[in-house]
């Protein structure tokens, strides 16, 4: 009897050791992966903190000797960083606003109504996702040029407005599908018009999806480079992507300023991303229905 008990105890201990070893390996692998993922960001911070006389060096230390915030100040003083951010902000906000408005109503139409061309419309929307970026850009660029909108906010807004529309419609349609129709029917019986049911009941309940669509539109336009490079040529009109690209030339790289500028732009984008993924997970529980 005692031998049996001893055997069990030993087996349990060995099992636990194996489990722990497994866990250690898993965590080690994950930590290694995390390091690979954030290392470029860490390097960016360290380069941005380098003192002026040692901007270009082979030093790998994370916090360089004589760390200063000079590069950060230089970004604002020696470049049009704020102007770039402003340009990006204007273009992005207008584009997102247009995109979300059109998607809010369009997604509702696809969600609640069966009309001829319903399926075709959805397939077409999906199909536009497959068009290579450059393919649409070329004729769009020529059209914008013809209209004299090169190098203007309008040209950029025109180019951006429609690229996120299909995906936004898809997101909002998916969200509307989860709102029970009985809510709109109750509103119809209570006394709203068909559109009123949408406007007074469905729309207020869709704020999570609208926020996601807005954030998605926003980040797409905010981070965009290729279209901006084609449409904007005046340095006064540059978005921050174009501006930053200027700072890292093939032969001359303003390492310090580039790193500082990059870091300053990256942090808000990262925060927005992390914040919006929380929305995605939580969602809204509709207590008005059986729950």
């Amino acid at each position: 009897m005692a031998e049996d008990r001893e055997r069990v105890v030993l087996a349990l201990a060995a099992h636990r050791r194996r489990r722990t070893a497994q866990a250690v390996l898993i965590h080690a692998a994950l930590i290694a992966a995390c390091l690979i993922c954030i290392y470029p960001l860490l390097r960016m911070i360290s380069v941005s903190l380098r003192p002026g006389d040692r901007l270009i060096s082979t030093d790998l230390s994370l916090i360089p000797a004589g760390a200063t915030a000079a590069s950060y100040l230089n970004v604002f003083k020696q470049t049009n960083f704020l102007l770039w951010l402003w340009n990006s902000l204007v273009i992005t906000c207008v584009t997102s606003f247009i995109g979300v408005s059109l998607a809010a109503t369009g997604g509702y139409a696809f969600s609640r109504f069966k009309f001829p061309g319903h399926k075709l419309g959805l397939t077409l929307l999906l199909g536009t996702q497959m068009i290579p970026a450059g393919m649409l850009l070329l004729p769009l660029f020529l059209m914008i040029m013809r209209l004299g909108l090169i190098n203007t906010y309008l040209g950029m807004i025109v180019a951006y407005s429609v690229t996120s529309l299909p995906f936004s419609i898809w997101i909002l349609k998916g969200y509307y599908d989860t709102i029970p129709r009985s809510l709109e029917e109750a509103a119809l019986v209570d006394g709203t018009s068909r559109f009123g049911a949408f406007y007074r009941i469905v729309l207020p309940l869709s704020t999570p999806a609208l926020s996601i669509a807005f954030l998605f539109n926003f980040t797409q336009a905010w981070n965009e480079y290729l279209v901006a490079r084609v449409v904007l040529c005046d340095a006064q009109r540059y978005t921050w992507t174009l501006g930053l690209f200027e700072l890292q030339g093939q032969y001359l790289t303003q390492w310090g300023m580039f790193a500082a500028g990059s870091f300053m732009v990256t942090v808000p984008v990262l925060l927005i991303f992390l914040y919006s993924s929380k929305w995605l997970i939580s969602g809204l529980t509709l207590g008005g229905v059986k729950g």
Binding site: P180, L183, L188, V189, D190, G191, G196, G288, V289
Partner: protein, 354 residues
């Protein structure tokens, strides 16, 4: 309050006909129940009265006016939905006053009506809460309150109790019955639960397959079912059915037979008898048939009654007897049917014969 008349209503979805020539008169202040199994068309009919579904053929009149072409909000009806459909982003008070606010009713009037309805339904303490903070039964009351406040011509209830647990369902059933008495309202109530149908309505329409099978009081539907379907649908436990034939005053089926005096019909019939109408190993005063032998398969104790699952030949029957009955599985017993409780249905048309 008003009367509701359905005149030859039909509904077709592409090829499928969901409702066939339904005609029904619901009088002012009547509590009419539409009952039937899932898919029989009762909810569709209710939604057509509300204006949420198009009418393919026929006319609906509310208070004598044809309303076919009117939008839901112009029909002056109120509806309580199966999933309550409370607006999640509004408080209880706002939910209840929504319809009145849309019609620009004076604020003092709105407040008065909301207080009144909340008092009737005992939800005064919930007025500031949102639906998310309420239990199922409370949400149910708010949904009803929202309907009351509108003072509509008719109330439409779409299976309101099916999402509640059994105990709550009983409570709410009584509440709704009291509500009807108190408000004197015209109510059209849809359910698939025949217990609700029997207990709540003053009249009920049993539906199946898009047709009204029988219209009448619950007592009528129970004691004189118009056809085989109604007989099997109403009453719990379900009626026993034995297919056989009547020849010369005797009922014969492959598994059992007994004389049936006074039966005028002849030919293939379905004989129906409720479990309460089968007496086992007894012959008390009530006029009973000749004994038929059967074997007990399973015995269930239900408190003051027992369910006996009997087998005669190859036919299984259910009889309900007193709890004092002492039979065990495997015993042979003799069944006697109460003559008055026997229903005969034509095997072809399924209609009632006698």
């Amino acid at each position: 309050m008003a009367s509701v008349t359905l005149s030859r209503i039909s509904k077709r979805y592409q090829e499928a006909t969901v409702l066939r020539e339904i005609s029904l008169e619901i009088a002012d202040r009547e509590f009419m129940i539409l009952v039937g199994p899932s898919g029989c068309g009762k909810s569709t009919l209710l939604r057509m009265i509300a204006g949420l579904e198009d009418i393919t053929e026929g006319e609906i009149l509310i208070d004598g006016k044809i309303v076919n072409h009117l939008a839901p909000r112009d029909r002056e009806i109120a509806m309580v939905f199966q999933d309550y459909a409370l607006y999640p982003h509004m408080t209880v008070a706002e939910n209840m006053s929504f319809g009145l606010r849309l019609r620009s009713v004076a604020k003092s009037e709105i407040d008065r009506r909301v207080e009144e309805a909340a008092g009737i339904l005992q939800i005064k303490n919930l007025l500031k809460r949102t639906p998310r903070q309420l239990s199922g039964g409370q949400r149910q009351r708010v949904a009803i309150g929202r309907a009351i406040v509108r003072k509509p011509k008719a109330f439409l209830f779409d299976e309101p109790l099916s999402n509640l647990d059994a105990k709550l369902r009983e409570e709410m059933r009584i509440e709704i019955a009291k509500l009807h008495q108190r408000l004197g309202a015209t109510i059209i109530y849809v359910t698939h639960d025949q217990v609700e149908a029997m207990t709540l309505g003053s009249r009920m329409a049993v539906m199946n397959g898009g047709i009204i099978q029988q219209v009448g009081t619950p007592a009528e539907a129970f004691s004189r079912p118009a056809n085989h379907f109604v007989a099997g649908f109403i009453g719990s436990p379900t009626m026993n059915f034995i297919a056989g034939a009547l020849e010369g005053g005797t009922f014969k089926s492959p598994d059992l037979g007994f004389p049936l005096p006074g039966a005028r019909a002849a030919g293939p019939v379905i004989l129906g008898v409720r479990p309460e109408g089968i007496c086992v190993d007894k012959s008390d005063g009530a006029s009973l048939s000749e004994p038929v032998p059967a074997v007990i398969e399973v015995v269930e104790l239900l408190g003051y009654k027992r369910n006996l699952y009997l087998k005669a030949g190859d036919k299984r029957l259910l009889a309900t007897v007193d709890a004092s009955f002492g039979g065990k599985p495997g015993d042979t017993v003799s069944m006697r049917f109460q003559i008055a409780g026997i229903h005969l249905f034509d095997q072809e048309t399924k209609a009632r014969i006698g």
